[in-house]
Subunit: 253 residues, 2 copies
DNA sequence: CGCCGGTTTGAGTCCATTCAAGAGGAGTGG
DNA sequence: CCACTCCTCTTGAATGGACTCAAACCGGCG
């Protein structure tokens, strides 16, 4: 059915665990159809029972959850090449939403196809599972971020994470990247209010750590921002270390 | 090597996905040795590369992470029968700590054995994976809890979760259970200070929602506590619904 | 040009923190 | 058996980081 639409997804999978060409071909032969969503549209809705899993081909997406008083918590950001809801291949009901952050293009893969390929190829199984374990590691890091760091530190941490992930994904250079989130999105990701996000960003900018443009961010002082954010990329488990000269000691504590 | 030490672990795995007896036998035949830890001892340490995965046989354990200023975030609580660090079977370096909350007994299973059994039995693979996806769902729920609810609500939510999980695991009746966490543990789990945890608990007690004993908690008004905590057990993905008469509408929004 | 979503700024308030001290309880050793 | 210690829990008072409310500003776009 599909030609090689899934090639970038495969590339990302292989960044942690190279696959033999039989597996590679099986993966690329997965049945899937592409689908587009406008910014803000729901890709997966809490409470639904999805029949497909989605991988991001273009654009950014985010997971979110609504709490009782109407507040929203953003649970994670997804970049092109990532599965946004593998858990729905195994679990019955979606326990949170997935939405397009920018206009996105996804590949929808039937759940049976996912389950099938994982049963028939232990290496692909392992590769996909590893990805989802890294997702979980990111959830934990965010939990620590929101639970135990102040606004300035939280913000710095998130900005560092996005830098490293975009760079590792080959999407942007590390120190100057596309940031499509509004301040409200940032607030919901960090457990803050939009107003306080605004003030926090201004301080970071005034301190010379970052500079902001329309939907872009530049890190002026990586070292300092990393320190403020208490950021260490270990939890991202990027096995193939990408250590640009422009980003000294990204792996340092 | 091992007789049927892993039986309770298997029972928990099967609570979501029953296994054919061949798989069951293979699982019970996994090589493992039991090991004891005193309360507070580290089972897994951040930065280490564990050679074994651990499953809890007796006692409670928790995952935690230390942030830059010395603060600690508790990332999750584990009850008997649960894997406490499956992610280390796939990822290189442990990105957080696992510690005994009470005196515990664990079974240590060599990582190769875990990987091996998952490669040879798709159903066991799926069962273990599902468990770890539920873990991830709990991380997300905690993130929303800490990020978007006030102290009273956070506390209520956690108390509800522990009630449902202990009941589902057959450890305690739902409405009156063992709570080995100190107020400091609770604080670190909820992103609060011990002092505020104390005040919050006292208010919940004064309002007649709970009553406390030495290391135990009784929920006096489940409905009210559930409402205060904005708690819905969906995210725990307990497929075999256990709906005791004593806990009306646990699944209701 | 006027609207609209997003950003910026100010002033006042509040939830949770910090600091500090005291009380309770379990275990230990004299 | 009692004193002593350590850990946990409790309480008060003052502080502060983030919030709320509200208004103004800005840039893009129809």
């Amino acid at each position: 059915m599909s030609s090689s639409i899934l090639a970038p997804v495969l590339a990302r999978l292989e960044s942690r665990l190279p696959l033999p060409s039989a597996d590679r071909q099986a993966f690329l032969a997965l049945p899937c159809r592409t689908q587009s969503f406008a910014a803000g549209q729901y890709i997966v809705r809490e409470g639904h029972r999805p029949s497909h899993c989605y991988v991001l081909l273009k654009g950014f997406a985010y997971r979110s959850q609504i709490v009782g008083d109407g507040g929203r918590q953003i649970l994670g950001i997804h970049l092109p090449g990532e599965f946004v809801d593998v858990q729905n291949a195994m679990l019955d009901v979606a326990d949170h939403n997935v939405q397009a952050l920018t206009p996105v293009e996804v590949a929808a893969i039937p759940i049976e196809a996912i389950v099938g390929i994982m049963a028939s190829s232990p290496r692909i199984d392992r590769a996909i599972w590893t990805q989802s374990l890294v997702d979980a590691a990111v959830f934990r890091e965010w939990l620590a971020n929101v639970g135990r760091r102040d606004a300035r530190s939280r913000m710095a941490h998130l900005l560092c994470e996005l830098a490293v992930r975009q760079e590792a994904g080959g999407i942007s250079p590390a120190l100057s990247y596309h940031l499509p989130m509004t301040q409200e999105h940032l607030a919901d990701a960090l457990g803050l209010t939009p107003v306080h996000v605004n003030r926090t960003l201004k301080v970071l900018e005034a301190d010379g750590l970052i500079s902001r443009a329309v939907r872009a961010l530049t890190i002026l002082d990586w070292r300092a921002l990393q320190k403020v954010g208490d950021f260490s990329p270990t939890y991202l488990h990027l096995e193939r270390r990408t250590e640009p000269a422009a980003m000294p000691n990204a792996a340092a504590a």
